[in-house]
């Protein structure tokens, strides 16, 4: 059963088009991430799902219903806001109970729900405090508790972690994921953080300029980004983009790479599909971890190390290929110091090629 379907939704203010035809469909229990840079329309889309804004055209289905003309309160949704949006004059208990009071849930049932939710989120000792007396992480939990108290068909999270400090953010991220595993609810989650998107999502919609650039599982998006924007946006450090020309050498199709002082031809597996593009310029996309240190006797490209960034488990090596800066993620023991030379090879089975004009992926 589909839990949420968005059909050709657009949103315009006069001549400003915020959303330009959005289509999304997710099943019950799925965790959908809307990710993109600021101004991409993801929050507007969220507000349209919540019913806080109306789409200019298109349909929003929640469950079996078209909800275009249904008020937010009747959509059977709950929302967690970036600023938490706790009611400042009410204590935690009242904050959680407010929605139930409005819906006329019996008092006894309210108390049971509050007890259950606050225990689950470990906020049962905070029930009599006001939001002003809570830390950021505690407010976050209360905001989630308020959403959970409703047991809705659809949870909406609007950048819920971006006001937390880095350590807490990682903790809460894990908790949200555990919560989702436990409750099996359908969640729509807006973020600009690609790590949150990758770690939490069952489905990711990468948005830019009011268009969904790619919609798919985290693996699809990471391994087969549909265009240059998605490739560059997802992954940290970003994918390296190297301009090169497709060539044929000894019956194999591939590209030639030049570092400072070395050059070699690397073949693409099943490159034959690109036969009609021989001689044309393409952009080679390779993720930092797809660049490896070549073993003794293996073919490799000798690259000069410009800079190293040790992160602990890995070390980032900054070098240059075809005149573009390239980052490689290598084991700290294999890393050389700046000024020295390392022999690197690409995992050609995983690299992706993009058309420089259309910016779309070729293989």
């Amino acid at each position: 059963m589909g839990a949420l379907a968005i059909k050709n939704v657009t949103k315009s203010f006069g001549d400003t088009h915020i959303l330009k035809g959005i289509d999304i469909h997710i099943e019950a229990g799925e965790f959908l991430i809307l990710v993109g840079p600021s101004g991409c329309g993801k929050s507007t889309l969220m507000n349209i799902i919540a019913g806080l804004e109306a789409p200019t055209t298109g349909e929003v289905h929640i469950g079996e219903r078209i909800v275009n003309n249904v008020a937010p309160k009747d959509r059977d949704i709950a929302m967690v806001f970036q600023s938490y949006a706790l009611y400042p004059t009410m204590n935690v208990r009242k904050n959680i109970a407010f929605g139930m009071e409005t819906r006329g849930v019996p008092k006894k049932e309210q108390d049971e729900i509050i007890a259950r939710v606050s225990k689950m989120l470990q906020i049962d000792h905070l029930l009599d405090r006001k939001p002003g007396q809570l830390s950021g992480g505690q407010r976050q939990r209360v905001a989630m508790g308020r959403a959970l108290a409703r047991d809705p068909k659809l949870f909406l999270f609007d950048e819920p972690l971006s006001n937390l400090d880095a350590k807490l953010r990682v903790e809460m991220r894990t908790e949200i994921k555990q919560l989702h595993h436990r409750l099996k609810t359908t969640i729509v989650y807006v973020t600009h953080d690609q790590i949150e998107a990758m770690t939490l999502g069952d489905k990711i919609a990468v948005m830019k300029d009011g268009i969904i650039q790619q919609f798919g599982s985290p693996e699809e998006i990471y391994e087969r980004p549909s265009n240059l924007f998605v490739a560059g946006f997802i992954g940290s450090p970003s994918m390296n983009f190297v301009e090169c020309h497709l060539a044929e050498q000894g019956g194999e199709y591939g590209v030639s790479l030049q570092s400072e002082g070395d050059a070699r031809f690397v073949a693409l597996p099943n490159g034959a599909r690109l036969a009609d593009r021989i001689g044309q310029k393409v952009i080679l996309g390779v993720r930092p971890e797809q660049i490896e240190v070549a073993e003794e006797g293996e073919p490799g490209l000798a690259c000069k190390v410009h800079l190293t960034e040790p992160t602990g488990p890995d070390t980032m090596i900054f070098t240059q290929v075809n005149g573009k800066e390239v980052v490689a993620r290598v084991h700290p023991r294999a890393a050389r110091h700046p000024g020295e030379t390392m022999r690197l090879k690409l995992d050609m089975g995983k690299v992706v090629l993009f058309d420089p004009q259309t910016e779309l992926r070729l293989v």
Binding site: N47, I77, A78, M79, A85, P88, T89, F98, R146
Partner: protein, 299 residues
Amino acid sequence: MTSYNGPAQYGFAERWLPRLVLAPSFLLTLVFVYGFILWNGYLSFTTSRLLPNYEWAGLAQYTTLFANERWWVAVKNLFIFGSLFIGGAMAVGIFLAVLLDQKVRQEGALRTLYLYPMALSFIVTGTAWKWMLNPGLGLEKLVQDWGFTNFTFDWLVNPDMSIYTVVIAGIWQSSGFVMALFLAGLRGIDDSIIKAAQIDGASLPRIYWKIVLPALRPVFFSTLMILAHIAIKSFDLVMALTGGGPGFSSDVPATFMYSTAFTRGQMGVGAASAMMMLMTVAAIVVPYLYSELRGSRNG
């Protein structure tokens, strides 16, 4: 670079200039505010009539004051005016602020429009409303000229109702100001709180009543303070609108004080009534200031 550990050394000018600059206003305030309060306090215990004298009379002037029917009319009027004026200005002001908060077009222009009465002095407000409420000249005549010959609106010349005309004019003057204060407060409320309440299913009146207005408690108290002291001090509005009349039916303590002290030659009674007003204001303002100052020290 040499370093100097110790109190910074100032020249003579640096040390004395701030005090010198502040001295005149400090001195003026000391003499003309606190000095005159003390002088007035002393006069209220003397037998002063047309001119001040310093013959000690104990509480005699207060006894006279409390035996005066006109004083009690003034106190009753202050009570009526104060509560209706504060309540009315607050209600109208909050209502306007909530309406203006709904992202209306031309909000800036409307805001200015509603705030304009505040730019007028109470004298102008009083005079304008005196014309409008004058039965032979203003509203009553207008409606009668339209053909409703039975229409009467004679509160201005009706001793039982005259104080309510002051309330009307006062609310008209001050509700725009209340609106501005509350609008500023409303703008400080996070938008997503309202969205969250909408998703929780609360209607707009319920959102304002249960969530937004309770969050504006500090604004509410500041506004109450400002309106309360305007009400207690109100003099010019009454003077311009009704002159305390008809008879002394719309007297308030301030007009009572003025007429006893300066036109009826009972300076001692006037001084005593002035002291009563001071005490009333102090009873409201001092606890407020105390809590405010203590709050800011803790925060």
